[in-house]
Amino acid sequence: MITRIVSKNFEIPNSHTLAVAKANGVYESIDKAFTQPSYVIETEIENSGLRGKGGGGAPAGAKWCLATRAQEMDQTSAKSYLVVNADESEPGTFKDRQIMEFDPHLLIEGMMLTCYAIGAHDAYIYIRGEYKFFADRLNKAIQEAYDDGLLGKKVKGFDYRLDITVHRGAGAYICGEKSALIESLEGNRGHPRLKPHKPSPEYYFGAPTLVNNIETIATVPYIVTNGAAAYRQYGTEKSPGTLLFGLSGHINKPGIYEMAFGESMQAFIDTIGGGVKNGKKLKAVIPGGASTPILNAQEVKEARLDYESMKEIGSALGTGGMIIMDEDTCMVSALKNLLSFYHHESCGQCTPCREGTAWVDGIIANILNKKAKADDLELLSDISKTMNGKTICVFAPAVAMVIDGFILRFRDEFEAYIQKSLGEADA
């Protein structure tokens, strides 16, 4: 099941150093790419069907086109930027750090190709503040690349300037949202921006900017070297290629495994993950980072790991970071854990999210602490209705879907808790 494209060098000792990386083929695509016109890369990416791997799964090629087209149309902005989103903070997701830890040069290579394709000469890596180790490692790799003439005034001898800067965030989950990320990068408070009404790139200090996830960018060298068709041989028609899938929670072999899209979730858990820990039964899986609706054991059996199939069964593939829960897991506590996170991380811009996340967190706390009221579940669904689809970004809708997902699938557990509270109140 394992297909290694991004993770091919992960297990080589010292893979993060320039010497080892070069010995294993990193930076080989540069010579070919930089002698061709820049649109060739863009076309190849578009043909490959590469989808953004930060969770949304939007086609990367279309996004690149927006950035280049905006640049062409808007003659006043001579600049454009590439921003790599390394603000990996979704609970259950820990794939991007593997790239930074084990193959930072692959990322740099991908950035060089992407910048050349969209005509950017300055690129930023926005990394979450808590990732100090990874930021240090990246900086070290970037320094190596500069020293080796791979970056700077002349990229690998070609007449193309490229500078990469690592920017550490200050620890906000919302800064992984691309427009909030750019606000933060501009030095402002990380608040998502109002969404444009027609397809448009992001704008960093008024210049068209492409924001992509690390893993997306790290996939670019493979596609440039081997062509779109080679990438398309993996995965499904609509979800081509591979993804770094993650396993955590009650599982025997937690970790990051690169697989083509379209594999069975159950098979993945059982074979690669080694099954549920301590031989217990599977109860539920959060399929792709905390913000995707939870699946029960029955749904897991049917689930296939690509964007379309996951959507069909009422959840989302997200980042592919699966949280496995065994039969003893208390779903009310699990939801409380997630809601505490969202309560803490809501940026506080839009009313429904700012007040809603705090309120639902409080209600679940009450249910856990035997202070529940009879109509609490109804209240929760009321609030989640208000939070869904009425905010600037998708944070609140995600929370609403998480709540709805838990209550829809494990309503009896919540009701049992509420009954306990009510019984106690009567006594």
């Binding site: 009404h197 991380e345 940026c347 700012r354 007040e355």
Partner: protein, 503 residues
């Protein structure tokens, strides 16, 4: 010119400029759509989510502040699902609100209160001990008190300091329901326009230290007037009330929207200048420190008007009608006039926005009427005169050496609205109404002629009325225009619109 297109709002056909902000179009057409964060001067921010409307063809309700007018757009602002939505957002806004309307100065002009009465009226579904407590009664400087618990985090105030004044004193700190407006640690508001955030605040989070607890807004009457603090001519509301057994008193000035002059804002100094209208006012006629009647005072005055050695010194802040009537009087008695302007120049006050270094509010009219303003001319005339009649000129009331030297050995007659040191010891002292008590017109530094209305209704005679008694000149502003100014300026009083008229 924007392309006007047809749109339908709640089955009503409207014409609107294509591409305009839908919410503004709705507001301009008198369709009430609740909103907190949108403000015409600040533009959309999209955070409050109150201005949601349903648009045909869109699967979800949209915020109208971030929706642009399109041809043949069909909008619903009042159907049941939209009202439900407003109710649920309001419920969230009120979750941790202290609901202290009875002691809140915003009550009566509070959007949150109004919307709750219109859409909410729900019982709280959250126990009050779970409310999020924040800081109250924070003095953030410049007469502004911040109550974080009443705040709906619309960010109008922070956007004002960031986008309008560029002084960045305010920011939102904290995340989620811990978010709150705050100044930087240890710092305070310092912009000269700070108090505008009090008007911008749609709720009671920002209140004026000066106005707090002084008056319920629904008791007050409001008159459209113009700030007389400088030559900019910012439009203001004069909010006043006559409480039982007290005289009519002004409680505050608020900016009045005039897009061609001050937009939505005024400076703090202008805003607080209302105090001068209440305080230190001259009420009676005096002759050599003796209180006398109006009749006697005017007969004394007539005696001096017949004196050959009399000079009129007029304030360049008097309204156009007063200036022209004084000019008539001067012509009849063959008296020279001067509107000495130097004392009204204050370079420290001027800036490149709403504060002009010319602190006289009607210099343009003075010049239009051909009244001299220079010090040289004044000194020449003073050399020839024994009697000086002062029409509210501030320099002649100030106790500084320069003016006292100029006036040494002169017989002084003062038409003034306010008391000043030693004023009663002068030959003759005549009280007149101040600008907040009368109507008139001013021409600002950009040549815009504007009307202002009388606010206070105290029984003080204004200058026109007093001069009418001795000279039978027109008694009211309308008469002055009919008989003199209409011809002089080539336009009728009635044609001066609320926005003013560019001359």
């Amino acid at each position: 010119m924007p392309n006007m297109v047809n749109i339908t709002v709640d089955d009503q056909k409207l014409k609107a400029p294509e591409g305009a902000i839908l919410l503004q179009v709705l507001i301009d057409n008198g369709i009430s759509v609740p909103h907190f964060c949108y403000h015409e001067a600040l533009g959309p921010d999209g955070n409050c989510r109150m201005c949601m409307v349903e648009i045909e063809g869109q699967k979800r309700p949209q915020i109208s502040c971030d929706t642009r007018v399109k041809k043949e757009m069909v909008v619903y602002t009042k159907n049941e699902s939209i009202n439900d939505l407003k109710r649920s957002i309001l419920e969230l806004e009120l979750l941790s609100h202290p609901v202290d309307c009875p002691i809140c100065d915003q009550a009566g002009e509070c959007s949150l209160q109004d919307y709750y009465m219109e859409f909410g009226l729900n019982e709280s579904r959250r126990p009050k001990e779970e409310k999020k407590l924040k800081d109250k009664k924070l003095d953030i400087g410049k007469n502004i008190i911040l109550d974080q618990e009443r705040c709906v985090l619309c960010a109008r105030c922070t956007r004002f300091t960031q986008e309008i004044t560029h002084t960045n004193e305010l920011a939102i700190i904290g995340r989620g329901n811990d978010a709150r407006v705050s100044t930087l640690p240890g710092q305070q508001m310092h912009t000269a326009y700070a108090m505008n955030i009090i008007d911008l605040c749609p709720v009671g989070a920002l209140t004026s230290k000066d106005f707090r607890f002084r008056q319920r807004v629904w008791f007050m009457h409001s008159a459209p007037s113009i700030c007389h603090g400088c030559a900019k001519g910012c439009n203001i509301h004069v909010d006043h009330n006559q409480e039982k057994y007290k005289s009519d008193t002004i409680f505050r000035f608020r900016p009045r929207i005039n897009k061609s002059i001050n937009g939505h804002f005024i400076c703090d100094e202008g805003r607080l200048s209302y105090k001068q209208e209440n305080e230190e006012r001259l009420d009676d006629f005096y002759h050599q420190n003796r209180r006398i009647s109006q009749e006697n005072a005017l007969s004394y005055l007539l005696r001096y008007l017949h004196d050959e050695n009399t000079l009129f010194v007029v304030s360049p802040s008097l309204c156009t009608e007063e200036l022209v009537i004084i000019q008539k009087l001067a012509e009849r008695f063959d008296i020279k006039m001067n509107a000495y302007h130097d004392p009204y120049t204050d370079p420290d006050f001027g800036d490149d926005w709403l504060r002009s270094q010319d602190r006289a509010s009607n210099l343009a009219a003075v010049k239009k009427l051909g009244i001299p303003t220079s010090k040289e001319e004044l000194l020449i005339e003073l050399g020839k005169t024994k009697v000086v009649v002062n029409f509210d000129h501030k320099a002649l009331c100030e106790n500084n050496a320069e003016t006292q030297n100029m006036l040494v050995n002169k017989t002084q007659i003062h038409f003034v609205s306010h008391l000043f040191p030693e004023c009663k010891n002068h030959e003759l002292l005549l009280p007149i109404a101040s600008y907040s008590e009368q109507k008139g017109t001013l021409i600002n530094e950009d040549g815009i002629l504007q009307k202002f209305e009388a606010g206070l209704c105290n029984e003080k005679k204004n200058l026109l009325e007093l001069l009418h008694i001795i000279n039978a000149t027109p008694e009211t502003v309308e008469q002055v225009w009919d008989e003199i100014l209409a011809e002089k300026f080539g336009l009728a009083y009635e044609t001066i619109s609320a926005e003013g008229k560019q001359l």
